[in-house]
């Protein structure tokens, strides 16, 4: 029966080897393709999601990284919050602080060769303001009274009231960036889509495969320094581990972003010595918001006890492996108006216990949880269940605060439910991070005062809340730089003293790139792309 076993085996091996040779041949062909691409100076990067419809005036599912490659702002945000001219070469602000007049660069053209001028700036503003409610999160949008094309290269915007962060908000990646005339739909309403992605930026979209890749080539009409590489290919790779494997196989030149690869993978790639790795300046502060409307957390002594009651340095190092840095300030010092020293609330278990005793939370004999008037000291900490940092940190806090007699219940929620609980201020303790540059510090102080975000609500039991709110309003309306600095210092110092925010660590962006890639610099604006200065060695 089946005497041809040997023959079958030989045929099987032949087929297998032919197939494998075929594979190798194909791969060699691919490699030589990659080599020729290198000669053309191509940088291939990964991104977790499809770049989206490349519309400068909409949000999800459009990706900031791709929008920032094609579209540019009037004003650019640089290190330390410095605002520098970009598409506007200069600007003036009227005495009353309500009129902004921008002189536009005259050497700027869109990628299709058409001129960038005040008319197209106005047209973009009109499209944005047509859907004002979609952009109301951006403070100045709510105050725009009118926009005018003063002359071909002068654009004027008038606000209904003074709002100092206007220029800073004009530097954000969306929605205030400029689409060329050819991209507008017939009715001018870009919220419904754009015809083509025509921008003034250094790159233009040259090839696009939905959910697979997007290819950007140099804009031949770019007014600034030309990019050093000819092409940027963004490959859509949703899985972090696959990204790392593709990078190791040299299918990628750069992995860049926030949380785009696991901390273990970053450390492993760094330790291998075969690649370049880089960490950015702090982009945001990871912190806990304590809900002061909770009876237990309303007492400042309790809040201070929680600050002192865990080893922050050990937790940050242990969980993030050095990828994040221990934070003492609510806002990192690299943001405008935030560069001041605070007295760290260091790890001190005895001090924590003393604060709790002072607050009336005593440890009954034979029990491990403190009580006050028969009520147990029990709090709930919400965390996002898919977040690889929040969960271990929550578990650490549960353990460490347990040692001072605090029962911490930790609840993992999906992101939507988590945000919903935050907005409704239905939490005791919540993992939160500020918005980073170019949104802060004004967005941060705004949410401490404005209702609807959950933060102001959670601070409402602070004795000086009304005063704080007044200071926030004054800071946002102030046209006096020194007064504004004074107000920021006062607001942030009060919040630090009140200990209702528990700073944990400064979050940083990561970048891993091949040795032949050079010129990598993290952009100061959290949402900008880092591709303009990239080059690759011959």
């Amino acid at each position: 029966m089946f005497v041809s076993r040997g023959k079958t085996l030989v045929i099987f091996l032949l087929v297998l080897s032919t197939a494998l040779m075929g594979c190798s041949a194909q791969n060699n062909a691919q490699k030589s393709g990659a080599e020729s691409a290198e000669k053309e100076k191509t940088i291939t990067v990964s991104w977790p999601r499809d770049v989206g419809p490349m519309n400068p005036h909409v949000y999800n599912p459009s990706q900031l990284i791709a929008q920032s490659m094609v579209y540019e702002p009037l004003v650019s945000y640089k290190e330390g919050g410095k605002l520098v001219p970009h598409l506007a070469e200069s600007w003036t602000i009227s005495q009353d602080g309500k009129e902004y007049t921008f002189k536009l660069r005259q050497d700027v053209k869109f990628s299709d060769g058409t001129a960038f001028n005040a008319a197209v700036v106005k047209k973009n503003f009109d499209a944005i303001l047509k859907n004002r409610k979609n952009h109301s999160w951006l403070g100045f949008i709510n105050f725009v009274d009118k926009t005018e094309e003063v002359d071909e290269y002068t654009f004027k915007m008038t606000l209904t009231q003074v709002y100092y962060p206007t220029l800073q908000e004009l530097s954000v990646v969306r929605p205030v960036r400029f689409l060329g005339e050819a991209g507008f739909p017939d009715d001018g309403d870009t919220s419904k889509g754009v015809k083509v992605s025509v921008g003034t930026g250094p790159w233009m979209l040259s090839d696009y495969k939905k959910d697979e890749s997007a290819e950007f080539t140099r804009n031949p009409n770019y007014w600034g320094d030309k990019p050093k590489v000819n092409k940027i290919i963004i490959k859509i790779i949703p899985d972090g581990e696959t990204r790392v494997l593709a990078f190791e196989k040299k299918e990628l030149d750069l992995i860049y972003g926030e949380g785009v690869i696991s901390m273990d993978a970053f450390k492993q790639l760094k330790a291998s010595g075969k690649y370049e790795t880089s960490l950015s300046e702090p982009i945001a502060t990871r912190e806990l918001v304590m809900n002061t409307t909770n009876d237990i957390l309303a007492d400042i002594k309790v809040r201070l006890a929680l600050h002192h009651g865990f080893n922050k340095q050990a937790m940050v190092d242990g969980v993030t492996g050095g990828l994040e840095e221990k934070a003492d300030n609510i806002l990192s010092k690299n943001l405008p108006y935030t560069n001041f020293e605070v007295k760290p609330l260091e790890y001190d278990v005895e001090k924590a216990k003393a604060y709790l005793e002072e607050a009336g939370w005593t440890l009954p004999a034979g029990k491990s949880i403190r009580e006050k008037n028969g009520k147990a000291f029990e709090l709930e900490l919400l965390y996002e269940k898919t977040d690889q940092v929040q969960k271990p940190m929550a578990e650490t806090l549960q353990s460490e605060w347990g040692a001072i007699g605090v029962k911490l219940n930790i609840t993992g929620l999906d992101i939507s439910t988590n945000i919903k609980r935050l907005r409704a201020a239905e939490f005791d303790l919540y993992f939160w991070s500020n918005y980073g540059s170019p949104y802060d510090p004004h967005s941060f102080i705004n949410v401490t005062s404005e209702k609807g975000f959950g933060i102001s609500e959670s601070l409402s039991s602070l004795p000086m809340k009304q005063e704080l709110d007044q200071q926030v309003r004054e800071a946002l309306l102030s046209t006096d730089e020194s007064k504004r600095q004074q107000l920021y210092s006062s607001i942030l110092n009060t919040l630090q003293e009140q200990a209702s925010f528990l700073p944990i660590s400064y979050i940083k962006k990561t970048a891993v790139y091949q040795k032949d890639v050079e010129g990598f610099i993290f952009p100061a604006n959290r949402d900008e792309n880092p591709f303009l200065g990239l080059d690759r060695l011959e």
Binding site: M1, L20, S24, N27, W137, G193, D211, D414, S416
Partner: protein, 314 residues
């Protein structure tokens, strides 16, 4: 036969209603309001006024039964509405991604048949041989390795270390090999053992002894008589698993960056994009139903006694 098909087609209606109703209930059991999820994803500031406007736009302000009936009527017309996130018609979005998912599912099915039939057959013929032990080991591995882990292992060894296949993406047939095998291995494990057992059972049947006494060649007995009958449970299983194979692409598509419907569905869940979720449930239900029907018809063709007696024992 025609009346049988007619009955089966009629049975689709309650199954379909049950599947869509169940998914509708589950979506609405979630504490997250889709309008809120949409506004959060779109970065639009939440106010009661905006929320009410969006809820009205999505039809979420209507009673639940009205929402369900309306969505059901639309589904029957193949109108799945517009995605809350992309603002594009769902069917258009799905039609763009469906070919990739179907390609992956069918290539996996092809691999399942290509690998499990010869292995199952040979391991029955050479029972308790080295080959049989090897097939048992393969079955254990296939049944116990999680799909995502297998995917990573294959990428690491065959792609990164041996440089035989690309790590991710879609394009050439080489891109198809690893994801298809990852998706197929679990089923290969099952069907190899199923076919082996089935063949061994058939080998004990009197008709085999009778055939041998008639002097029919062993090859013909095994290939023409035994395999034909023994493969029947495998076909039933494959038909039932076709829907599972389609739904199972979600993990594989994620690991191999395969631009299919599964990945889109995952994003839709996170965004509470109800029209997309409903469309996915509808499609998976359809695939299950249609595949089961096809399998039953195939069974009837292979063994006409099923339609006559309702039994497949020889």
């Amino acid at each position: 036969m025609i009346s049988y098909i007619g009955k089966r087609l009629l049975a689709i209606i309650p199954i379909f209603i049950f599947a869509t109703l169940l998914s509708f209930i589950m979506i609405n059991l979630s504490p997250v309001d889709p309008a809120e999820a949409y506004l959060t994803a779109a970065n639009i500031r939440l106010t009661e006024e905006v929320l009410a406007e969006v809820r009205h736009e999505f039809g979420l302000d209507q009673p639940l039964y009205v929402q369900y009936v309306q969505s059901l009527i639309k589904m029957c017309r193949f109108d799945f509405g517009t995605s809350y996130v992309t603002k594009e018609p769902v069917w258009q979005e799905v039609a763009h991604r469906l070919p990739a998912t179907l390609q992956l599912s069918f290539s996996s099915l092809f691999l399942v048949i290509l690998i499990s039939v010869p292995i199952g057959f040979l391991s029955a013929v050479y029972k308790n041989s080295v080959f049989d032990h090897f097939s048992r080991l393969l079955a254990f591995l296939g049944a116990s390795i999680p799909q995502f882990w297998l995917g990573y292992l294959l990428i690491f060894f065959l792609s990164v270390k041996l440089d035989l296949f690309p790590v991710q993406g879609r394009g050439t047939w080489l891109h198809l090999v690893l994801p298809s095998f990852t998706l197929a291995l679990g089923l290969i494990a099952v069907y190899t053992r199923l076919l082996r057992t089935s063949i061994l059972e058939q080998m004990q049947e009197p008709y085999v002894l009778y055939a041998r006494t008639r002097g029919i060649k062993e090859k013909i007995i095994m290939g023409k008589h035994i395999l034909k009958i023994a493969i029947s449970p495998m076909i039933t299983g494959l038909g039932m698993n076709m829907g599972k194979l389609f739904a199972g692409t979600i993990i594989v598509e994620e690991v191999f960056s395969w631009p299919g419907f599964g990945r889109y569905f995952i994003e839709a869940i996170f965004n509470r994009d109800i029209p997309v979720i409903q469309c996915y449930v509808f499609l998976v239900a359809c695939i299950f139903i249609v595949c089961n029907l096809i399998v039953d018809l195939l069974q009837m063709v292979i063994d006409p006694r099923i339609s006559r007696k309702g039994s497949i024992s020889p």
